[in-house]
Symmetry: C2
Subunit: 218 residues, 2 copies
């Protein structure tokens, strides 16, 4: 049984060093290369693919300093821009908000783990994701299951997008401009957001969304 060949993608040298060391302790897993952002990951995948040394799993963070972020990179990997069949992507990050999880899952990530996870959990996730299964951190799985049980209270992707822009300080008109929609549409979405979060103004919506880890701290 050949080793699972892993590409590490994280902008922090410390984290890459830690992952190398941690994965070196896992039987059946080999770190074949590293990259410091999404762009470098795409290039490295292409290079290895061209050499006939394909990667079995991409283990990647979401935030990459100034470089291409993990969600964008995941989308492009899944679109076959770095070789086909595209390898599964396992996200390993500190961010646990609905917005982050949703963006990664929609981009095609096979798994989502948090950096505070113990090594055994990460090992399980690596093995599962490489085998084509879904690999979610317990808290992330609970969040998604919560959404399945109470779908009527979950924000739609568009609602989430608007809420995030709201939290950065934009007014309705600025949000409309940025999303190329009308102000009336923004207001309609806000009405829906307020209803789902059971609030009656924007600052309360932002506060509740932060408390519930729907959006990140700014």
């Amino acid at each position: 049984m050949p080793d699972i060949r892993v590409l590490l993608v994280d902008d922090h040298p410390v984290v890459r060093a830690g992952l190398r060391a941690m994965l070196a302790d896992f039987d059946g897993v080999t770190v074949v290369s590293e990259a410091a952002d999404g762009g470098a990951a795409l290039a490295e995948l292409s290079r290895l693919h061209a050499l006939g040394e394909p990667v079995d799993l991409v283990l990647m963070d979401l935030q990459m300093g100034g470089g291409m972020d993990g969600v964008t990179a995941t989308g492009r990997i899944k679109a076959g821009e770095a070789g086909s069949p595209p390898p599964p992507v396992l996200i390993l990050t500190t961010y646990d908000t609905d917005a982050d999880i949703l963006a990664a899952v929609e981009a095609g990530a096979a798994g989502y783990m948090l950096k505070d996870a113990p090594p055994e959990q990460i090992r399980q996730a690596v093995v599962s994701a490489a085998a084509g299964q879904t690999a979610l951190a317990p808290g992330v799985a609970a969040k998604l299951m919560g959404h399945l049980r109470n779908p009527e209270t979950a924000l739609s992707p568009r609602e989430l997008q608007i809420l995030e822009l709201l939290a950065t300080g934009l007014g309705n008109r600025a949000i409309a401009r940025q999303l190329f929609i009308s102000e009336a549409t923004v207001k309609t979405h806000l009405v829906h957001i307020y209803g789902k979060l059971v609030v009656d103004n924007r600052t309360a919506a932002i506060s509740v969304a932060r408390q519930k880890r729907i959006i990140r701290d700014s």
Copy 2:
């Protein structure tokens, strides 16, 4: 020349693994122990001090999930709660806001490095901080100098109080009611707050205030 004895403090196993590996490559540096938050760091320092095996340097993150944060722990270490003379504290974190840097420096940290720093920079910082010198990442030093040149106008205690209530989702009238003042007073304070934060609406004020760590979780 004996090795610099280092205590690692970070809530992420991956990061601790990375730091162990990275520091293992540095001549003259030994990782003698680890802790996952500030409280555990204090306990470990006390334990080692009582065994006659004092630590030369604490390498510590700022955010520790649910545990004691790095600033609080730094303050208590410098106050001698874990043995005297207290070892220098070198902060290694992803956070580079002025408020975070200032808080750590004011708490007594000897250095402040960012996790995206290459290994050689971290090695230099470890050696400098252990030798009792200041060790700042280049970007951090620039920020501190900028802060000294242009001291930021601080919010008054009352302004802060109003901003905090605002961030919980209260409107002007509710804030006024809670503080037993008029709505006109609330609005006046908000005008001052917006001016100091250079924003023109409440959500932007909250966003900027959170970014600058003027306020924290709602």
